[in-house]
Each structure stands twice: as C-alpha cells, then as structure tokens.
Symmetry: C2
Subunit: 138 residues, 2 copies
C-alpha cells in the first residue's frame, strides 16, 4: 500500500529484523534491545549511562529502563562515577562477562546468515544507504 514510502518500509523491516535477532538472543534470555545494549557495555565497560544512551541512539528514560532490566537479570552494575554525583558508570557483572564470547558469536552468525541470504554487497549497500539517511536527517 505504501510501497514507495521510506517510513513504511523502514518500520516494517525493523519489525522483521527484530524477529530474526530475537531468535538469536532467545537462548540467552535477552531481547534484541537488551542484548545490543549489553554487548555495548561488554565492549566499553565503565562508560556513563548517558554515553550508552547516545551510542544506542535511545532516550535517557529508555536507557534507564533497559539497564533496570539488565540489572534485574544480574548482568550489570551501576557505580557512581566518583567525580560527579549525578553520573552512573555501567559495568558488566561476571555473569555477563561469561556470556561475552557466545553473545558475540551468536551475533556474528546472524550477520553471516543475513549476508548469505541477501548477498554481501546488497547487505553492505543497504546498511550504508540507511546510515547515510540517518546522518542526513540528524
């Protein structure tokens, strides 16, 4: 119905991809947003909550809640940043660190599968086009 609409196609694709990734992270008991946030934390432990919000391109309230969820699962810790009483530094727990490798492997597998289905070039082109649009709209 809205074949040439960027919004329509983008949101529809986002929902499709959400399902793909949900399958991959299901064994970890994580949803895609949770898993991606955790991967970011594992890659850059100690960054401030605000910095993760920026990096994931989600609002601060959404970040608060996503981190609440990860904390409830015992996967992260919030520590006061020390020099500024407002800030929270985010660290993975040992349990999360134990998942790091397999979480990354699962992610790589999804990427590989998508590249196989779509073709490596189409995949890369699409990502690059989307990133271009994102930054043009920023």
């Amino acid at each position: 119905m809205f074949d040439h609409c960027l919004y329509f196609n983008t949101t529809a694709l986002a929902r499709q991809l959400e399902k793909e990734w949900a399958k991959a992270f299901e064994p970890f008991g994580l949803t895609p947003p949770q898993a991606f946030l955790l991967r970011a934390i594992l890659d850059q432990p100690g960054l401030l909550q605000r910095e993760f919000a920026e990096g994931m391109v989600i609002s601060r309230p959404t970040t608060t809640r996503a981190l609440d969820g990860l904390m409830a699962k015992g996967l992260i810790e919030r520590r006061s940043s020390g020099h500024d009483g407002r800030e929270q530094s985010i660290f993975p727990t040992a349990a999360a660190i134990a998942m790091h490798v397999s979480l990354n492997e699962a992610s790589v597998q999804v990427g590989k599968r998508l590249k196989k289905v779509l073709g490596v070039d189409v995949f890369a082109d699409t990502v690059s086009k989307i990133r271009g649009v994102r930054s043009a709209l920023k």
Copy 2:
C-alpha cells in the same frame, strides 16, 4: 557502536522517521501508525480488517487496537461483511473523508522534504534497497 549492523541502523532510522512523520500528522491529532492506517482505509474503503493487517504488515491484534483508536476518534466504522459473520469491513466516516485531501497533502509534503534533503536518487535507492531486503527475508 554498531555501525555496520543492519538491525541497529534500521531501528534507529525507524525512530527518526517516526518523529518526522509525527510532526506532519500532529495537526490532525494522529500518530504516524494511525495516520497511515487511516490513509489505507481512505484509499480502499470496505476492505476487511485482516486485509488491512496484511497491507500494513502488522499483526491482527495490533490492527484491532489501531482501529479501536480510530473508532474512538470517530474516523472509521466497522461493519459486518454480510456473507461471513467473522469478518469486519472497515469504512471511513464522513469526518475521515473530509480529511482525505489534506492528509494526503501533508504526506506528500513530508515525502518532498525528505527527497529534497536526501536527494531524489538516494531516497529512491534507499527505499528500493530496503524493500529488497524485506522481500528477501519474507
């Protein structure tokens, strides 16, 4: 952080676009999902609820609720399809029909603005790439 991830970029773009369209539909008191569904109904009055779910690529429960919202605003009617007691045909009310032209105009404006910002070719390429991925994953 996930520069080359299709999921990450797609969901982030989806949120950005949502905001763009929200501005455009705000004068009508409609959110983007509501407005797009209503536009579909205005273009094809009388289709079944299930058919709108398919067309919009959303689940049936989401369709039920989106239509509940439009009905609460007095913009659509559900009528029994006649030959099958399970089905509901969806029609726009006079109030909705009165919005048809300006709703479409507002939508065209957003499209024009995006094409101007991004360039017509980038816009078309991006949509086409995304549609390609959508159908490859279907």
